[in-house]
């Protein structure tokens, strides 16, 4: 139950439903039966966190155990934080309302770099010191997972353990271990020493970093028996892997509020800018039957009327059409929509297309990513102008009048001509509409162009590249706007400085921790929110710590430089990445994994198995 204190402040904040808990399918257990209390923290708002599939999976997985209780915690919005601090209410978990400082495990998921100050802020709101070294007791142990863990260095002094890779198995390992050490009455150090024996566990405090005189990393040396390289964990068989049959159903409207099915992990495309495409390899598919069963159970337990089939590139799922046919047998009757994000609609059977709402309702989206064929070859985005045009034509034939195109600005080797190419391509789509005899009568067309800023990321072929400086990006954005001559095309661009900051942290080292802490102490939080982000405070923080953001973001690295994340092993061979980088600069594309394995090395993590070619062959 909520305390009176809390009830009083709930009526003073926006959307109090973010802070109450009590949603359908949330799990409440008897404290007395529980050996390990786990606070799963999402360092952003409730609405964003509640849309995140990984959290739903781990929440269900931990709560399957009788000896553990996983609860949800989100970053309170500014108004709530103010009230909590004023009334001395510490950060609490939604299910029990208990302060998380008393929990055994506090686990963060790091989905994007711009949430780092929120991690510190949440620890502080919990009443805990933000630095690991100042948290002396065995519990709470602070852990973190998620894609940003592939380079966890900027957060190294704050987190006790990072868990690179997929969380399903390692989470249970950690819970077992903390349970054992609590019973033994161990010290934190004893626990950490034991923890690093588990595959996929990184204790940053056991690694010392030396630097060269030019500020690059010289060496990272482990101690206390920690491994030289920390190998990420993966789940080998998705069919037998845990998947929840219940989702917590929020009262509030959240970003994605629906049944989500995961079709496969990894991606066969190999777009050179896309970190997710490399981080989640090797490719592992779920059987269509597994997916269908999971969808059915989730719809039954939640009452959701939409199923989203999600994966990095949904149309690459080898069993997509049979799955859709099976699903449609009951979803139509039960008035359930099927949404297919990230879908390429070329070769999509017309009768299936008609039945699928995601495509029908939201209009058409397409991601050419770059404006010219030359640059698309550089980034290995195998989309041709003809494909964009034929898709647009199909769309207009089908009665749509809105098309959305996604691009990136600042890609390696990009020239102003490539930037102009974005506007030209959008113009061609507009022309396609007016030349189409079947276009919807009496209507006009809108082509929305979203141009985000390219940020080089670890474990991609572009991890050595210099990111465009804020000045260059701004210039290119301006050029894009100027190249656009029609009002039928709407262009939107990302804020420049946030992309630079993202770039700094993505490839940063431990020295950045001080900048993060300084910025947070000066009031930075929710940096991913344009209306909260404070450029000036961040600039001051870098100055105060005497650290140059350009060193991290806009410096070209050489292939033989020791990278701050070289001791993290995501199964991807460095030679493969170097080779891909060279091919990029030569403008040579690499075929998709379905056509030919290009030897990225990640299949070794899975006993040599990769489902890219065909599941049965693998």
């Amino acid at each position: 139950m909520l305390s009176k204190e809390l009830k009083n402040i709930l009526l003073k904040v926006q959307k109090p439903g973010r802070y109450t808990g009590g949603e359908l399918n949330s799990v409440v257990k008897n404290r007395a039966d529980i050996a390990v209390r786990y606070a799963f923290c999402f360092p952003d708002t409730y609405e964003i966190g509640m849309s995140h599939l990984g959290m739903k999976i781990l929440y269900g997985l931990v709560n399957e155990r009788e000896d553990a209780w996983c609860e949800r915690v989100f970053a309170p919005w500014l108004d709530m934080e103010e009230q909590m601090r004023k009334n001395n209410i510490p950060l609490y978990a939604l299910e029990s309302g208990d302060p998380i400082a008393g929990f055994d495990i506090i686990g963060f998921t790091l989905q994007y770099e711009l949430c780092y100050t929120n991690v510190l802020n949440m620890l502080d709101l919990a009443g805990l010191p933000v630095r690991s070294a100042d948290r002396k007791a065995l519990t709470p142990i602070v852990i973190a997972g998620g894609p940003c863990v592939c380079n966890p260095e900027p957060l190294a002094p704050f987190i006790d353990l990072f868990l690179p890779g997929e969380g399903e198995e390692v989470t249970n390992d950690i819970i077992d271990l903390i349970k054992k050490h609590k019973a033994l009455g161990s010290t934190k150090e004893e626990f950490l020493k034991d923890a690093v024996k588990i595959q996929g566990v990184y204790a940053p405090s056991f690694y010392s970093v030396e630097y060269n005189s030019d500020d690059t990393v010289k060496a990272v040396t482990p101690s206390n028996g920690a491994p030289e390289k920390v190998k990420k964990r993966i789940v080998s068989d998705l069919d037998s892997c845990y998947y929840p049959d219940k989702f917590v159903v929020p009262f509030l409207e959240v970003v994605h509020d629906r049944t989500t099915a995961e079709l496969f992990r990894g991606c066969i495309r190999g777009c050179r800018f896309c970190q997710a495409g490399f981080l989640y390899r090797p490719i592992r598919e779920k059987a269509a039957k597994t997916v269908e069963d999971q969808c059915r159970r989730l719809c039954d337990s939640t009452g959701y009327d939409e199923i989203s089939l999600c994966s990095l590139s949904t149309s690459d799922y080898t069993k997509l059409f049979p799955l859709l046919n099976d699903l449609l047998e009951w979803t139509e009757k039960d008035r359930i929509n099927i949404a297919l994000p990230s879908l390429r609609i070329d070769n999509f059977p017309e009768e299936l297309m008609q039945k699928i709402s995601g495509v029908r309702r939201s209009g058409l989206t397409f991601a050419p990513e770059a404006g010219t064929q030359r640059l698309r070859d550089v980034i290995n985005k195998n989309v041709t102008e003809e494909e964009v045009m034929s898709t647009a034509k199909e769309a207009f034939d089908g009665g749509w009048t809105a098309v959305k195109l996604y691009f990136m600005i600042g890609l390696p080797t990009e020239t102003l001509e490539d930037v102009e190419g974005i506007a030209k391509l959008a113009q061609k789509v507009v022309d396609e509409f007016y030349h189409n005899p079947n276009k919807p009568k009496g209507k006009s067309v809108t082509v929305s162009v979203s141009a985000s800023t390219f940020v080089p990321k670890p474990f991609t072929p572009f991890q050595w590249e210099a990111q465009d400086t804020a000045g260059v990006i701004a210039e290119k954005q301006k050029h894009l706007f100027e190249s656009n001559t029609t009002r039928k095309v709407n262009i939107s661009c990302h804020k420049v400085y946030t992309s630079v900051l993202e770039g700094v942290f993505a490839r940063g080292d431990r020295r950045l921790a001080e900048v993060i802490e300084t910025a947070w102490r000066s009031g930075c939080k929710f940096d991913g929110w344009d209306d909260v982000f404070d450029t000036e405070k961040w600039t001051q923080a870098f100055e105060k710590c005497n650290i140059s953001p350009e060193f991290y973001a806009s410096r070209q690295r050489s292939f033989d430089e020791v990278l701050p994340w070289d001791h993290m092993d995501y199964g991807i061979s460095k030679n493969f990445l170097i080779n891909e980088n060279k091919r990029a600069h030569e403008g040579v594309t690499t075929p998709s994994c379905r056509e030919k394995c290009s030897g990225c090395g990640t299949n070794k993590l899975n006993g040599g198995v990769c489902h890219a070619l065909c599941k049965s062959m693998a």
Binding site: N8, P16, G17, L24, V249, F251, L252, S301, G303, D305
Partner: protein
């Protein structure tokens, strides 16, 4: 197709659900209960489910009517059982039946209001202040409305909308029982009345609870 009125108690953590959220939440509950809802026809079919008098956020209720149209021969009892099994925390199905009155017949609502004070002396004193203020008949509140496109601030006389009012004290609590205008045309939110009282009487309780007890028609008989 037939219409059914479901009466729901709303309390605990559920009171922070806004009207829009409640609609979505209940549509899902009905789906989980496997009660086939009737869908509107036309371009964008949606299930028929509505609340005759949405409850403001933060208030609890003994019985909120929810009107649905269904396509099934399930009996009221079966619907009651099916819905009861799937309700989220904080919602209890009180009864299920035919809607006797039209949604527009709601004219008033009866509320039970509890105000908590640090001690009983303060509670007693405040109860007196509140009675004097109500009897004085001069309570006003500002309401922003729209006149065409312009925003206008109107002063409204609250006493016109208060039909019954009793206030007494019990330990450190002031207990109020009030019947206020309610409905889609004239409606007095008890929270607005309380704010006016706090302002005019210059006091503020440490804790407040508002519970809607029932809906009434213009002749003071129960809305059913």
């Amino acid at each position: 197709m037939r219409s059914v009125r479901v009466w729901l108690e709303k309390s605990g953590r559920a009171i922070y659900t806004s009207h829009l959220d409640l609609n979505r939440c209940m549509t899902r509950a009905v789906r989980r209960a496997n009660i086939p809802l009737w869908y509107t026809e036309g371009f964008n079919p949606h299930p028929y489910l509505m609340f005759p008098l949405p409850l403001p956020l933060g208030q609890s209720s003994d019985g909120e009517p929810m009107d649905i149209r269904i396509e099934t021969d399930m009996t009221d009892g079966e619907i009651f059982d099916a819905l009861s099994r799937v309700m989220p925390e904080g919602f209890t199905v009180k009864s299920v039946g035919e809607p006797k009155d039209k949604a527009g017949d709601v004219a008033m609502a009866q509320y039970g209001i509890t105000l908590e004070f640090p001690d009983s002396a303060q509670a007693e004193r405040t109860a007196g202040v509140i009675r004097t203020l109500i009897d004085g008949g001069e309570l006003t509140a500002e309401k922003t409305g729209k006149k065409g496109r312009m925003k206008v601030v109107k002063e409204i006389k609250l006493n016109d909308f208060i039909h019954r009012f009793e206030a007494g004290s019990e330990d450190c609590y002031v207990k109020i029982s009030a019947v206020l205008s309610a409905g889609s045309t004239v409606n007095l939110n008890p929270a607005l009345l309380l704010d006016a009282l706090y302002k005019a009487g210059d006091f503020e309780p440490v804790y407040t609870e508002i519970r809607r007890q029932k809906l009434l028609k213009s002749d003071f008989s129960d809305f059913e």
